[in-house]
Structure formats: structure tokens, C-alpha cells
């Protein structure tokens, strides 16, 4: 039996795929933004001299990074309600992805923090800046420049992880594609188109990150 390609049925549902993509992006943006905040705080915990901050930060990163994200997604959607935390599908997924990305971003940020020579902080102290001012004016800007290349690829993989929301029927791109697949039986066409949408979006994200990198590059 030969399979002849026919994209017509997929094109008819193309706007559904686009809506799915828009939701995927939305999930990713909110979760990653929250993840950046969690990751930043955690990263400072990880490099702290005091075990009071370092240990909980380390525990969080270890637990989250060693659990498959699908398990986390299913846990927060199915198990949390049993514990009295009832969230909608989307909220539950965004929360999970935020916590998950927080752990990965914490490691990325930590790498950027330890690469900063201690003399930077000392120079800040010497002119009378407080630790907080040093963080906001010196350490974080330098850390971000250090991590931009790996930050881009981490963000792209986190964006792709939104496809796991299909497991709890969040109508993002993968979920919509599966629906179209089931309804039209155009298996190959549907998944080709869905893949292309992922590839195009990720390429755009990568280009955007490179532009940011160039923009922030320190002239030398």
C-alpha cells in the first residue's frame, strides 16, 4: 500500500494548529519568566556560603532535575488535588514547567555566577555599594552575559517541553496535532506540519537570543 501525501485536510485545520502554537508559546513565556525568577534566587542560594540557603536550594535542584518532567506534570495534575491543591489544567502545567525550568535555569545561572571573578564584588564593596546593589548592578548583568549562549538552548528545550501538556489535554500544539491526526487520518502530513511549526518557532527563538547576545556583548 502506498501513502499519497495530501495536505488539504491539515491546511483546513491549520488555524487550530496556530492556536495551539500560540498557547504553547504562552505557556512557555509565563513558565520561563517565573522560572527565571525562581532560578535566579536558587542560583544565589547554590553559591551562598551559608548552608541555610545552599542546602534547600541544592535539594530543590536535585529533586526536580532527577524527576522526568512528564512525571511532574502528571503529579501536579492528578496527585496535587488529592492533597487539596486543585488547579486547572493550564495553571497546573504552567506551575510545573515554572518549577522545572527554575531548577534548570538555577544551574545555568550558577555556572554564570561562579565565572565572575571575586574582584568584581570587592570593587563594588570598595566604593560603598551594598551587597544588593552589587548584585543588581554588577553580578546579575555579568552573569547574564556569561550565560546567554546556554540560556538560549535551555529556553528552547523548555519551550519544546510544553508539548508534554498534551498528556493532560491542554490544547497546545501537540494536543491539537493529535486531534487533527485522529480526525483526518492524515498521520504523516499532520506531524510534518506540527514539526515544521516547532522547528520554525525554535529557530526564531534562537535567532532572537543571538540578537540579544550581540546587543549585550561587551565591546573589546
Amino acid at each position: 500500500m502506498t501513502y499519497s501525501l495530501n495536505f488539504a485536510a491539515v491546511w483546513r485545520s491549520f488555524d487550530l494548529l496556530l492556536q495551539g502554537l500560540a498557547l504553547s508559546l504562552g505557556l512557555a513565556v509565563v513558565a520561563i519568566l517565573a522560572g527565571c525568577v525562581i532560578g535566579l534566587i536558587t542560583a544565589f542560594g547554590l553559591v551562598s556560603k551559608s548552608g541555610f540557603f545552599r542546602k534547600p536550594a541544592g535539594l530543590y535542584v536535585t529533586i526536580i532535575r532527577n524527576t522526568p518532567i512528564l512525571v511532574l506534570v502528571l503529579f501536579s495534575y492528578f496527585a496535587l488535588p488529592e492533597l487539596g491543591v486543585r488547579l486547572g489544567k493550564i495553571e497546573s502545567f504552567v506551575l510545573t514547567l515554572a518549577i522545572y525550568s527554575g531548577a534548570y535555569l538555577a544551574e545555568v545561572f550558577r555556572g554564570g555566577l561562579i565565572a565572575i571573578p571575586p574582584g568584581q564584588r570587592e570593587a563594588g564593596l570598595a566604593i560603598g555599594l551594598t551587597e544588593m546593589q552589587i548584585r543588581t548592578s554588577i553580578i546579575i548583568p555579568l552573569m547574564l552575559r556569561n550565560v546567554l549562549p546556554s540560556l538560549g538552548s535551555t529556553m528552547i528545550s523548555l519551550f519544546k517541553d510544553t508539548s508534554l501538556a498534551a498528556a493532560i489535554a491542554v490544547p497546545e500544539l501537540t494536543f491539537e496535532a493529535r486531534k487533527i491526526n485522529v480526525e483526518t487520518f492524515r498521520v504523516i502530513e499532520t506531524w510534518i506540519v506540527a514539526s515544521c511549526l516547532y522547528v520554525a518557532t525554535c529557530s526564531l527563538l534562537a535567532a532572537l537570543m543571538r540578537a540579544v547576545e550581540r546587543r549585550l556583548a561587551v565591546p573589546r
Binding site: 571573578p117 574582584g119 568584581q120 570587592e122 570593587a123 563594588g124 564593596l125 570598595a126 566604593i127 560603598g128 555599594l129 551594598t130 551587597e131 546593589q133 548592578s137 554588577i138 548583568p141 555579568l142 552575559r145 549585550l216 561587551v218 565591546p219 573589546r220
Partner: protein, 255 residues
């Protein structure tokens, strides 16, 4: 009149190793003191204690009569609140061996940061002052350059401008020419000489003996965590009293 700087019986340990074993030093407004001594004798550590980049376990350091870093309440010695320490750090300025300019800011940006964040100046006011000091160190034309675009000597001059612009009562220099190529050393030393002529109070850790001889009102020889000998440069360099100092001067180049 109270001394500008008064160090009494300063003790500093790293773990169990005592690196400052009771240092006493006083300094008046306008004094220029060079600190010489062999590697590991505690010169850097002494400077870093003065601006609380290091904790110290015993003794007191006062600037203009205020005790730096610690207070004793009910017989218990404890670290002052961090805000207070930050404020006290601004009483001194420091230039480092490795310059430590902020690489993501221009020369002017480096000088302005403390003025805006610590002195709470407006950006315009800070920029004006930054330009004045960059001009003073001969780098006004480089104000929009980033550290990575400047030579080592130029970076060190920007770093000095950044410290001086904060209007410190006392400047601390820690081997500010040691990381420089020989042909760049002089431009930095000239800047420091200029500050000395203006009456800036300075503590200068240096291996440049000729410079120490010319610029200082007093020289301190550190030896194994203590002050080995001190006096005016003429006596120190030409008629050392201690064997240790004579020995040290023999091994250092005076050029």
C-alpha cells in the same frame, strides 16, 4: 587632633594561621605612607582589613575617630550592620592590583556607578564629576570606552578615578602597577604622585622602591605579620636599622 587612621594591635587569622600579629599604625591627614615587605608578609591583608574586605579577630581600626567594622556592646565585640559597614567603606577608596573595572560599563560608567548608587547624585551630576576625574587621569577622551578597549595602564587610571571620585578620606593602593607591562607603570605612578601633591592621604603597598622613596612621607616595612621597621624614606632606604630590612632591600631592585 584625632589621627586620620589609627590601627591598634590588629590581629587577623585565616583559619588557624595568624597573618597579622599585632599591627599598630597611625596616620595623619595628608600622610603618604608606603608599605613594603616580602611576599606573604601581610601587606594586602592589612589594607583589606582597613576597608573590611576581610574580617579581623582582634584590635581596632579607626578612621577619623570612628571605629571601623566592629563595635563592642556590653563587652561583646560584634560586626556592625552591613549598611553601616558599606557607609564606612566609602570613607576609603581602593585600587587593586587587577584593576577590577566593571567590564560591562564604560570608563565613565565605572566612575559614575558609586556616585549614583552611593552618593545618590543625579546621572548628570555624576557624569560631570566622572568626566572631571577622567580628565585628571588623562583619559577624558576614553570616557566612552569599555575596559576591554583600554590598555592595562589606562584601566588602572580609570580604576583610580573611580575610587577618587567618591571623595574618600584615605586612598589604599595595593600593588597597582604589578600587573602592568613595564612601559605602562610610569603613567600610573604619575597619577598617584599627582594625588600626593594635592594632599591626598594614601597608604601604598608597592614593590617600586624608587617610587616609595620619592613619594612617601613615611615607609612601613612589614615582616611576617608585624611592622618590622618604620621611618622616613631616607633613613629606611639608606640606613636600615634592622637586619631584616637590610636583607629585604638587598633583594629588591631600586631603580
Amino acid at each position: 587632633m584625632t589621627n586620620l587612621l589609627e590601627i591598634r594591635d590588629l590581629h587577623k587569622r585565616y583559619g588557624t594561621v595568624e597573618v597579622l600579629k599585632g599591627v599598630d599604625c597611625s596616620m595623619r591627614q595628608g600622610d603618604v605612607i608606603s608599605i613594603i615587605g616580602s611576599s606573604g608578609s601581610g601587606k594586602t591583608t592589612m589594607l583589606r582589613c582597613i576597608n573590611m574586605l576581610e574580617e579581623f579577630q582582634g584590635g581596632t581600626i579607626s578612621i577619623d575617630g570612628q571605629e571601623i567594622g566592629y563595635e563592642t556592646v556590653g563587652g561583646v565585640r560584634r560586626r556592625k550592620p552591613e549598611r553601616e559597614i558599606a557607609r564606612q567603606r566609602a570613607l576609603t577608596g581602593m585600587a587593586f592590583q587587577q584593576f577590577n573595572l566593571f567590564p560591562h560599563m564604560t570608563a565613565a560608567g565605572n566612575v559614575m556607578l558609586g556616585l549614583v548608587k552611593v552618593k545618590k547624585m543625579s546621572r548628570d551630576e555624576a557624569r560631570g564629576l566622572a568626566e572631571k576625574w577622567l580628565d585628571r587621569v588623562g583619559l577624558l577622551s576614553r570616557k566612552d570606552h569599555y575596559p576591554g578597549q583600554l590598555s592595562g595602564g589606562q584601566q588602572q587610571r580609570v580604576a583610580i578615578a573611580r575610587a577618587i571620585a567618591m571623595n574618600p578620606k584615605l586612598m589604599l593602593f595595593d600593588e597597582v602597577t604589578s600587573a602592568l607591562d613595564p612601559e605602562l607603570v610610569n603613567e600610573v605612578l604619575q597619577v598617584i604622585k599627582g594625588l600626593a601633591e594635592d594632599g591626598m592621604s594614601m597608604l601604598i603597598v608597592t614593590h617600586e622602591m624608587r617610587f616609595a622613596y620619592e613619594v612617601s612621607s613615611r615607609v612601613i616595612f612589614m615582616n611576617q605579620g608585624r611592622i618590622g621597621e618604620e621611618g622616613n624614606p631616607r633613613e629606611m632606604f639608606l640606613k636600615p636599622k634592622t637586619e631584616r630590612l637590610a636583607e629585604f632591600l638587598k633583594t629588591s631592585t631600586f631603580n
